[in-house]
């Protein structure tokens, strides 16, 4: 639990952070709840940490032109307790409230969670279901990447060295929900399903269904999404029953065998869809 020696600098602005990160080996740190445990186990050995947690304006939840923007260093607790989110997009707040434990939620940030992309983290599924834009700034300037293009594989995301996530942007959706089977030690998801629906007259018009914990990275389930279109509450079970078929390389670990995890996928997808639909 003792990391190798590392340097530390605190960035004063986004540009300052990008400049500092551009130096070799620099790694951004905000809440540190993904990175520091790895460093303590010597599984990650960055030579320098660039602390972005106090950059003015990088944290906060704003509504702008029908979209909601969450700054990268906004903590899970801030998201879980946001009145704006609870009202307009409750799914992201409820997912935040189920992350880790109180200490993790008080320090961990949404930008960190998404950049790190733990295969069982909650937010990757949430931003996929919301079809969010990931706003990134780097040496070459700013760019926006769709969540659906951002998560590419096992701890593999569309970030170049020196890139910094600055915010997450999405159109709020009320009829969305997150349902999760907790791993009781870490409270990561054994299976976590994030669902956002277009609803008309009690029926599902369109659906975005995303899954975390089940495979190498968070993914969308287009087959289930298609099957859900046009369904009412009584058609959900049938529409999601084959959800696991869409999931490649189902994870196996101490906490869940392949069988069990596969069986849990439709259960939690269904629960999320039902709750999302109930939100109308």
């Amino acid at each position: 639990m003792i990391p190798v020696a590392f340097g530390y600098e605190r960035a004063t602005s986004i540009d300052d952070a990008i400049a500092k990160l551009a130096e070799s080996g620099g790694k951004a740190i905000a809440g540190g709840h993904s990175l520091v445990p790895l460093m303590k186990l010597r599984l990650s050995e960055p030579t320098k940490l660039v602390d972005i947690s106090r950059i003015p304006g990088l944290s906060g939840i704003r509504e702008n032109g029908g979209k909601i923007e969450i700054g990268a260093t906004t903590t899970h607790t801030d998201i879980a307790t946001s009145k704006l989110l609870r009202e307009k997009c409750p799914m992201i707040a409820e997912a935040a409230a189920e992350i880790g434990d109180a200490q993790v939620r008080n320090r961990g940030t949404i930008g960190g969670s998404i950049a790190h992309a733990d295969p069982a983290a909650d937010f990757p599924a949430v931003v996929l279901a919301l079809d969010a834009d990931i706003i990134i700034k780097g040496k070459k300037g700013a760019r926006t990447v769709k969540a659906s293009a951002f998560f590419r594989g096992f701890y593999d995301v569309d970030l170049a060295p020196g890139d910094l996530i600055t915010a997450i942007q999405f159109a709020p959706i009320k009829s969305a929900a997150y349902a999760k089977l907790h791993q009781r030690a870490s409270h990561y998801a054994i299976v976590g399903a994030a669902v956002a629906l277009g609803v008309k007259g009690g029926a599902i018009e369109s659906a975005r269904v995303a899954l975390t914990g089940a495979t190498t990275h968070a993914i969308r389930l287009p087959g289930v999404e298609k099957a859900l279109a046009g369904k009412k509450a009584d058609g959900i079970s049938a529409a999601v029953q084959n959800a696991a078929v869409e999931v490649p390389d189902v994870s196996v670990d101490l906490h869940a065998s392949e069988d069990y995890r596969k069986a849990m996928i439709p259960v939690f997808v269904r629960r999320a869809v039902e709750r999302a639909l109930a939100r109308g």
Partner: protein, 793 residues
Amino acid sequence: MTTATPVLPKLIGERVKRREDPRLIQGRATYVDDLKVTGMRHIAFKRSDVAHGKITSIDTSAAAKMDGVEAVFTGADIAKILAPMPIGTPFPSPAHHAVAVDVVRYAGEPVALVVASDRYVARDAADAITVTYETLPAVVDPEKAMTGQPAVIHKDFPNNLAVALVPSGTGVAPDFSKVDNTAVDKAFAEAEVVISQRMVNHRLVPNAMEPRGVLAHWEPGKETMTIWSSTQNPHILKTMIAAMNGLGQHQVRAIAPEVGGGFGAKINIYAEEYVCSVVSKKLGLPIKWIEDRTEAFVATTHGRDIIAYVDVAARKDGKVLGLKMKLIADIGAYNMLLTAAIPTLTMLMANATYDIPAIRTTLTEVFTNKTPTDAYRGAGRPEATYFVERAMDMLARELNMDPADVRRKNFIKANQFPYQTQMGAVYDSGDYDKALDTALKAANWDGLKAERDKARKEGRIVGLGLAMYVEVCGLGPSSSLPTGGWEHGQVTIERDGRITATTGASPHGQGNETTFAQMLADQFSIPLEHVTILHGDTGIVKQGIGTFGSRSQAVAGTALHLAGVKVKKKMAQFAAAMLEASEDDIVFENGTVGVKGSPAKAKPFAAIAGYAYVPVPLPAGLEPGLSDEAFFEPANNTYPFGCHISMIEIDRETGEPKLLKLVAVDDAGNLINPLIVEGQIHGGLAQGIGQAMIEEAVYNDEGQLLTGSFMDYAMPRASDFPRFELSATVTPTPVNPFGAKGVGEAGTLGSTPCIVNAAVDALSVYGVKHVDMMLRPEKLWRLIKHGSQGGRS
């Protein structure tokens, strides 16, 4: 003038807030890691990453060259200055080197160490040591290990038997020379129903909030060793450090500063304590080692890990005629201080709360390539409780009886105490019917049953569990402990009438600074704030054994009280001289010392204390000063007991169990501080429920601990529990003047079986008769999906 003097409250029995808490919760306490001694160096250990292997080479050259590294020691180097570590039980034991020589026997065993200028350099240097192994087959399954497969771990212990089969119970001579099975065989021959079940009480990682830590300081100029350690028993540490360093006990001072929890795992005297002491002596430097959490998972002893084959012989009316319990304990790679003795406590408590006429237990202890086990909160008694209470529940189910009724049918009755068990224990006092009745009433048992049945009709999987327990506490007479079973206390009344008292108990969460102060404040009728309790420093506390086995109040509290009696008598003699009265008429009241019937004569407590230190004139036959000590050796252990009830619901789709309700009735005899008692019970419940529901140390076939961090080993959080509903009955013990029995471990006894009983009750609709802990959701999901006829799961 008649002003109303405020009367000091009587403190015994009051819910006084812990005096320890402000410093602990504000980060103002001083732990080993907070200590600094000029010239201090740091040790980091290189530990084995294989579970079983021959060391073929160790290359320390890169480490030795690093800036800040002062010395590197291999196992062979340490063996030259430190003999193999002793154990505290009378069982044969293989040589156990503090740092492995030639062979490693569990992943995490030290193989070398670095002494460096700071902790970071030490860690880097330890990582720079290269060790190669010839890997040997890892012995992981204790039942296979008993056949010598897949390897023999210690060459002089064939079939990996640390303790070959030891019998106990009905018809067994105390020296095991004769085993008469007549009564047990008769019970099973006459049985109308026999229940047989293999059960596993799995392995746990204790995980005190503060990992271990040591600072050893040999002072060449003084020829003395001071050792600070996060330990439960500094006096035992002092004895062992002296012996292993070739020193007299007068040359060693052991100090347990603030200790952040022990749970039994800080009783053992560890390799790191010995190593720091011998390295300090060798180099003439203060040496510090602080365990990190990764190390703590593998280098600090584990708990439980015992398999039982349980057979119960009974009549159809529920009366138990006989009990057989074949115990197989997986003790890991080595015998530690008390390792071998812990499962013997499981045998000792096999009678549980029942008047069982014939019992045969056998115990086999087995070496495996895992971290060694030792005491863990409850230490042997939760295991006995679990096995017997699961079996009683299975009997109730088999006979279609209410679990409460089958227990009541077999209870030792209140008029049978003191009760000689089949296992050699003499239960001091008890009223098990009353504890059961109180729990049934507190839980509204019939109402809960109706609620469960209604839930079942709705298709929910809901179950109720009940468990009784009795525990052996207040350890104990010297015949039951190799260290001696007494405790020591000293009470000094200072010149200003304040009291400084020392106790041989070494509290690390038990709240004795509060409870002992309550006792002494009442004894002398002075305010609580005028009493300080010192502990944990052999330079200050003359003698002691330590804190374990729920013994502090019953044994150490009594020792302090008896020391107080002596001092009070002497103070009364000074008061008699000063007040010109008879010693027999002296009364201690409300911060004063006075004469019975003459209130005007009363003097402030401090005035008498001052007189005792400047005694002009010195009363005839008295020495100056007010300080005295006492050793208390109890005549027997104490046997607290209780009844726990739980309700759980299992998610039909996911198998996730949820604890809906937990009612605990605990009888710890008379209570000094019910608030602290409740805190102890809450902690015990959390650990007992944790074992049943979420905590499990899991090894793979290579002997690697898969649950080696908090990412995979679930420590219970407050959010895992409903609000505990606590009640108490009070059955004082005759063993000590307070009638107090002990409560530190109690919560772990009843809670674990009552949770599993509830799970089996819930799953009984699927034909499930038994499920082993922990209640992993996937395991329960499979039972729901496929059903079970019981047996191995």
